[in-house]
Symmetry: C2
């Protein structure tokens, strides 16, 4: 009899972003060019000063750092937050192994096994994996495409709160929808947290990438939120440094910080070379963000414009991050995504996208939606949009009317 | 009413290695030189070729890697294992964020919450934190100083196995005792695993550091172990690269590998710069280990010789790692450790050690033992031993007889 693995090991999902990967590899072996719109891996070059900082470092022994990160990185990070309009002290910052570890530590610290975490859906699919690892249940409140995936009504949150609810988790600006939560939305959520004694966990990985002059509101800047708010952060998207694995957990709640720090001591220290690189990153001038923001905004504008010109596609204008989540005239986005890679090509090109089902917990939702990450230069993005346009015309499963779940959703909006 | 943190957050201990840290800082502020024998942070220089590999790398975008690590690092790692006499394929290797993450993924994958993990004590104190994070209970089987902390009798393991027991975890060569488990000991443990359907989790961070010509037996080389054995590994100690945060989980059990890989996909990828450094590390010639082994052996010999010359100190000769765990003629090693930093100095020097209580789960055990890490050059180590010798003579809590728990242990031996 084979040894059983754990229940959580059985439940732990394969990455929703990797399901189509074998088909993409096959398409490339067949000589097709595959545009990758499926993963939030920025294509913009990592700033050379980051590598230069690592090259210049004179390190006799690459030793463990303090569990909360090196003093020097934490100080520079506090200065970065100050420039971002967020006043936190070094003692309120815990350096983590990317945003991933910040999410895990927050769940382990704030929730008991069996507790419930409220998350507006669609949400970053990997939250599901963290919830399984921490033994907690995600309870969703559904946002709709018709409002640009704005925060669902507060009453919808109130309606699903139970004695086991311990926290609300959101990503702002949102992966996967691109929605930038308004201050009013966030204050509403904090009000719920205050009334029901819930933590507000705010994943702010895309803070700087808001368009049309908008600014994201950090949950750390909500009056009265000090006890409730835990911010989960990372340099990954901000500086095109996903491989560095450097993030942070920031909270003014000292009890939460201390417990999260004990989880951090368990793994001794965050990545040392990554923190060196991070020191150079957080010292980049504002012009770095201005340039990238302009580039991403141009891409967003192109993507939305091209999508809206496609018959049967619906797409509101997302305010931030680098994703759009359009409705497509297809029977099933997973089938469409597989068909794109296995059967379709236009001018020997095809594309890989993320079917939205991976971002919904409620079965059946998002069947006609996909997440597109605009992490290609404008020329390639334009070419990819042409491929998508042609594919939608050629796809045998094209449907002119919304399928049942979407129709109900649209009707209710 | 303040928001409660989770039960596991409350249980999560502060690092046992950091308890005395504030007193060490105070001693330094008073101008004392403090010899650090308390933490397994190698002082030997990180090989320059490791940094050179990072300096030479031309990386336009520091991107996510595959969740199991880069192909190129996994291939080189498989070659390293081959040279170490361990035949594993790249598909059996999962690159982790240091040994810490390998331990966490193994526990999450192999055990359910509430399950029991058998660990010979004394053990690496941080295992306790991982067990709390994973919601599992550590059940100990006690090894004694009189046998040099050899594996306790197999009957002692059999005696504590319950229907909830799912795995045995050991560190070989051992942190904190320096014991190198014999092939017969390991085969005995595997036999128990086979009879009772338990995983054998083997932390082999110190593989190369065995002395007097001895070689550590990898659990991966036990016949019949393929289904049972999961090796937890790291480059931290092997190459003085603790800050890189690069390790591995290695198993021939495909189901375990796959589930652990899903946990790995949750955090997307291991540290990218660390893996670059790791590639250079695992290609170092055998002479690198020969030199370091000779250095560590000389230090071990000095440490043991000096300890044995101190009245009332007992110390067997440990076969590996870079720790010794002597019995000291003190009333309480925690009190002694604090006294050393707060009240004692010899020639304006003192030392920091790890009281052994942090390595025992059974209350009261190890009260007269300390772990000393010989991570100082021979001259400093000799000076530190002189400080220790003088301290033991001056300590007001000196006792000539073993205290109760140790006496019972000695009587039983």
């Amino acid at each position: 009899m084979p040894l059983p693995i754990s229940e959580r090991g059985r439940q732990m999902p394969a990455s929703p972003f990797r399901k189509l990967a074998p088909f993409a590899e096959q398409a490339k072996r067949q000589g097709k060019k595959v545009y990758h719109l499926n993963i939030g891996q920025p294509d913009i070059a990592t700033p050379p000063s980051l590598f230069e900082a690592v090259r210049q470092a004179d390190i006799p022994v690459l030793a463990y750092s303090h569990g909360a990160g090196t003093d020097s990185y934490r100080q520079k990070l506090a200065a970065y937050y100050h420039r971002a309009g967020i006043e936190v002290s070094t003692e309120e910052i815990l350096v983590t192994t990317a945003g991933s570890e910040a999410i895990l530590f927050a769940l382990l610290t704030c929730l008991n096994p069996g507790d419930e975490l409220l998350v507006p859906e669609p949400f970053y699919g990997t939250y599901t994996a963290f919830a399984i690892a921490a033994g907690v249940s995600i309870v969703t409140v559904t946002a709709t495409i018709d409002t640009g995936f704005a925060l669902p009504p507060l009453a919808d949150f109130e309606a699903v709160i139970t004695p086991r609810t311990r926290a609300i988790l959101l990503c702002n600006p949102s992966n996967p929808t691109g929605h930038v939560y308004t201050r009013a939305e966030l204050e509403g959520l904090l009000g719920i947290c205050q009334r029901h004694g819930l933590y507000l966990l705010s994943d702010e990985a895309y803070r700087e990438y808001c368009y049309d002059g908008a600014k994201a509101t950090s949950a750390l800047n909500l009056p009265g939120g000090d006890e409730y708010v835990v911010v989960l952060d990372t340099i990954s998207k901000r500086y095109s440094a996903c491989g560095a694995r450097v993030g942070s957990l920031v909270t003014r709640n000292k009890t939460v910080w201390q417990a999260a720090f004990h989880f951090a001591q368990m793994r001794i220290s965050p990545p040392g070379l990554g923190m060196l690189l991070g020191e150079a990153a957080v010292e980049l001038p504002e012009s770095y963000f201005d340039e990238n923001r302009a580039e991403y905004q141009a891409r967003r504008d192109l993507t939305v414009r091209r999508l809206r010109a496609m018959l049967g596609v619906r797409c509101l204008v997302p305010g931030g991050a680098f994703y759009v989540m359009p409705h497509l005239p297809v029977d099933d986005a997973e089938r469409f995504g597989e068909w794109l890679l296995r059967e379709f090509s236009y001018d020997n090109q095809t594309l890989m996208l993320s079917p939205a089902a991976g971002f919904y917990q409620t079965p059946g939702l998002g069947r006609q939606q996909v997440r597109l990450a605009y992490v290609l230069n404008l020329k390639d993005l334009d070419a990819a949009m042409t491929v998508l346009e042609q594919a939608l015309l050629a796809y045998p499963g094209r449907v002119e009317e919304p399928v049942a779940a979407e129709a109900a959703e649209l009707a209710g909006a």
